[in-house]
């Protein structure tokens, strides 16, 4: 079945955003820190937010398995 124009456009958008996700992994650590500052964020604060979310998830998973 031929893809509709709408699906093609959605596919194109998905390809672009997923491609940008991969470039994050290719970027140097310094670039990522700099980009965070440029967008008005504090890299250390943001990094600790992410760490806390991971720890919360671990805690929840462990509580459910104990």
């Amino acid at each position: 079945m031929k893809k509709s124009d709408q699906v093609v456009k959605a596919d194109k958008w998905i390809d672009l955003m997923n491609g940008l996700a991969e470039t994050v992994l290719e970027a140097s650590d310094e670039e990522i820190l700099e980009e965070t500052r440029e967008l008005g964020g504090d890299p250390l604060v943001e990094a600790e937010e992410v760490r806390k979310l991971l720890l919360q998830t671990l805690k929840t998973a462990l509580a459910k398995t104990s």
Binding site: E30, E35, L39, R51, L54, A61, K64, T65
Partner: protein
Amino acid sequence: MTLAVPIGQDNKKLNTLAQAEVERVMNEANSLDPTGPQRILQAIESLKPPELIKLRRFAEWRMRAIGPKKGRSADDLFQEAFLRVLGKQRRWKDNLAFLPLLYGAIRSISNRWGKAKLNEILECDLGQADDQENHLSELHTTSLHAERVVDAKQELETVKCLFADDPAALNIINRMGQFPASEIKTQLGLTEKQYQTAMKRIRRRLAQAFPERCRKREAKAAKAVR
């Protein structure tokens, strides 16, 4: 024709199933390896700030790809991926790095969420409902369809406008997803440095142009930390 399943119900079911699987495997893994939770904790604590930020950025771009997902943010995506990795802790114990597994899980989960979105669009293309129940499902699907199509179309137009003064970046954007980075560099005759500089411009402009999901995420994260 296929009946559309409301997103919320579908995801709740999947989450429950994923959680049950994680619990089962974690129980089994912990009985074999009592140091498991400690190793996981050490892995999290050893992550450096750029690694943690990359994790969130990666999830944010993947979420932008699939569009608004009811009640879900980039943080939900990497947390669900982390749960999946926890369930496979025996694999990363065997010298398989933790982060690549996490990125793999993020790709896999967001692909699944994205496929659900595209299926909604395809279902809508199949035709009209012929009874009241199907008609209601169609109305639900049609509104999602219209919302997503308008989103994708407008977003792509916005991207074109944003880079109208930057043909080098636009050339890269037009090739992304169709060719790997190495091929894009060859096609456009770019050095690694030129390519990375252009990618930085692209990420920065697009992140600024589509900030609403970031704000949603930041508000949610701030709430979670509090």
